[in-house]
């Protein structure tokens, strides 16, 4: 390279150089401002803890908790019994509360006006009860009947037990449900009413202890009873029973849990069916479904039998 190609600086090249320096300087300044005013403060704020660690404060302090599942532990308490006079007969307050609870818990199936036509009613078989008509009530429509139905549900139908609602609130629902049907509900059974009133007089409602889910995981993992894996017969054992066991069990540790869960069963055919039903996740090969009764009884005797022998000291 030679120096011949160089030209003396001109006004234009000076201006270009100045503009370049100005652009570079402002770029650096913008970068510093971005980091100084936005990125660094944001990072500092990130480091500040957002939530307090779980504590043993009562549940009242957990209002507005970010993660419902990690709310602090709270001790359970017993709500006192209520005076039957306040709940056994309908009152405007009870009906208003009943209407609110009905909208929350019932209307999705039974419909807003209780005609059994809520949005989820179509998926249910049998269809939800129409409260406006007196026909076909499974348990009857007396106060005590409806209270029982709300408390325990109806087996074989979509009606679940709403036992998590407080009894006094269930009574509000009972009165509201009865108010939805304009028909004559007939005379009440005085004896059953009195028994229900006594129940209100004597027992309150228990709100259980609550702990964070992470603590519940720790507790349940600790309480987990470990089941030792099944000892399969060694490969050298060529007896028919040994071959059968080695064929039937694909995962000895899972099979051990399955055997332990069903060991108290008396009926060996039922046990066999249960083991086949859960295969292969329960440690048995799916092919056990094809075994005949004699082979099954052989396997069940080998597994449950060895268990019983192991129990004896």
């Amino acid at each position: 390279m030679t120096d011949e190609g160089k030209t003396p600086p001109t006004w234009g090249s000076e201006a270009k150089g100045l503009a370049n320096r100005f652009a570079l300087g402002s770029g650096v300044a913008v970068t510093f401002l971005l980091f100084g005013l936005i990125v660094v403060p944001a990072l500092l704020r990130e480091r500040r803890p957002l939530a307090r660690p779980p504590s043993d404060q009562p549940a009242a302090a957990s209002v507005g908790w970010l993660d419902q599942a990690e709310a602090p532990a709270s001790k359970g308490r017993d709500l006192p019994p209520v005076d039957p006079a306040t709940v056994m007969t309908a009152s405007p307050q009870l009906l208003a509360r009943g209407e609110m609870l009905f909208k929350q818990n019932c209307s999705s199936c039974h419909g807003n006006s209780g005609q059994g036509n809520g949005p989820a009613a179509g998926t249910l078989n049998p269809r939800p009860r129409n409260f406006a008509q007196p026909a076909d009530w499974k348990r009857g429509f007396h106060v005590t009947d409806i209270f029982t139905t709300i408390s325990t549900g109806i087996k074989g139908t979509g009606m679940a037990a709403f036992d998590f609602i407080r009894p006094a609130d269930r009574m509000a629902l009972v009165h509201y449900v009865r108010s939805l049907g304009g028909f004559d509900h007939g005379a009440e059974d005085a004896k059953a009413l009195e028994a229900l009133a006594n129940q209100f007089r004597s027992t309150g409602f228990h709100i259980p202890n609550r702990i964070p889910v992470s603590l519940a995981i720790t507790k349940l993992v600790q309480e987990q009873t470990t089941v030792p894996a099944l000892q399969l017969p060694p490969p050298g054992d060529k007896s028919a029973a040994a071959e059968l066991l080695r064929f039937a069990i694909v995962d000895p540790s899972r099979a051990a849990r399955t055997v332990a869960a069903t060991a108290n069963h008396d009926d060996r055919t039922a046990v066999a069916r249960a083991w086949a039903a859960g295969a292969p996740d329960n440690g048995f090969t799916p092919a056990v479904a094809g075994l005949d009764a004699a082979e099954w009884s052989e396997i069940v005797r080998a597994l449950v039998g060895t268990k019983e022998e192991a129990r004896q000291p």
Binding site: T2, A120, D281
Partner: protein, 377 residues
């Protein structure tokens, strides 16, 4: 001297003479020898001391590396990262990897050959060789043979080189200077280059588009535009039922998936027990499954208060009610698989282990909301 010397060219007419001259001059180490001839001259490459090319060894090396990398990659993909048994073969079936290894070997080797030759060995780009600007170039491209002694350092003695060439039979000698136009890239030149590339892309794109649209596509050059086929879920008059897709034969069972051995959740409750031992990782798996699939309706703590409260009309089950807490594990499994009331089946979304992990997690939620007294300590 106003400018540095690039090389000293000596012109010859006779191929024997240039080879002899090169053999004489080479031991004197005046500079790097180079020859420019209109046709190949046997022995000249040896006379100017041209070493055998390193390209072959380089290509060999990169080819072997390519084969090794391909083997490593295929082993990692099919035996480590995504182990999938194919046709009952072992996960690491090297025979099946050979075609890909071959391809990658060729890829590495050819790219090495091309790029290394151009950029590493030939030292391109080199815009405008100074010899092209010499007076002798006309002779070189016709009937003259040129031996050039190139300057390799500041101490290059052009006069000695000139004398050496004349002494060894050169007919004429020319001193080629370093060209003066060797200047750095300018902004205008850069912008012009970019503009030219953009213009070339535009012209090519518009041209291709126009060609696709205007030039008729006729058989046999139909560019795969016509393919007799049925897309998924497309109707077809060929079959009696009017469907293009064929339904599976009745009773078909997917490999590894047994149909459930129960018809109702109650039956599942009687038959099944949770085969997964509850560990921290299973609990986390259950948390994930529950959070992804269940919590939107059953609530984060399983209390049946949906996260999508009013958008969805149903009243989801409350896992904390005494009735549901009393149900055995198998019941939950059965409901997950068969659905219940307004709840659909999750058999297609969750495999067996996920379902059992979710059952564990429901039990955890129930414990958290119905804790024992000693849990509070």
């Amino acid at each position: 001297m106003s400018s540095a010397t690039f090389a000293v060219l000596g012109l010859f007419s006779d191929a024997h003479k240039i080879v002899d001259a090169a053999n004489q001059i080479r031991p004197r180490k005046l500079g790097r020898l180079e020859a420019y001839t209109p046709y190949p001259v046997h022995g000249l490459h040896r006379a100017i001391g041209l070493a055998p090319s390193r390209l072959g060894r380089l290509v060999m090396l990169m080819g072997v590396i390519g084969a090794g990398l391909a083997l490593l990659f295929e082993w990692w993909v099919s035996a480590v990262d995504y182990p999938l048994v194919t046709s009952g073969k072992a996960l690491f079936s090297w025979q099946a990897f050979v075609p890909v290894m071959f391809e990658v070997t060729v890829l590495f080797a050819t790219f090495t050959a091309g790029l290394a030759m151009l950029f590493a060995l030939n030292k391109l780009p080199f815009f405008g060789h100074p010899v092209l600007h010499s007076k002798a170039i006309k002779g070189i491209t016709r009937d003259k043979l040129a031996l050039s002694i190139e300057a390799t350092s500041e101490a290059f003695d052009a006069e000695a080189a000139r004398q050496a060439l004349l002494d060894n039979g050169a007919e004429s000698v020319e001193i080629v200077p370093v060209p003066a136009w060797d200047r750095p890239l300018s902004l205008v030149g850069l912008l012009r280059t970019i503009a030219a590339i953009v213009a070339a892309c535009l012209v090519a794109g518009v041209g291709l588009f126009a060609a696709e649209k205007l030039i008729p596509i006729l058989p046999p050059m139909i560019h795969m535009h016509e393919q007799p086929k049925l897309n998924a879920f497309q109707g077809s008059a060929f079959f009696a039922d009017g469907r293009g897709m064929r339904p599976a034969v009745a009773g078909t069972v997917a490999r590894g998936h047994l149909p459930p051995a129960f018809a109702t959740p109650e039956e599942a409750a009687a038959l099944l027990s949770n085969p997964l031992p509850l560990t921290q990782s299973i609990a986390e798996r259950g948390h994930k499954v529950f959070g992804d699939h269940c919590a939107i309706c059953h609530g984060l703590v399983g209390d049946g208060v949906p996260l999508l409260s009013r958008a969805y009309g149903g009243k989801p089950g409350n896992f904390l009610s005494n009735e549901i807490r009393a149900r055995p594990d198998g019941h939950y499994f059965g409901v997950l698989m068969l659905g219940k009331n307004a709840m659909p089946s999750y058999a297609a979304d969750l495999d067996e282990n996920d379902r059992w992990a979710a059952v564990h997690y429901i039990r955890i939620l129930q414990r958290a909301q119905n804790a024992k007294d000693e849990d509070l300590r």
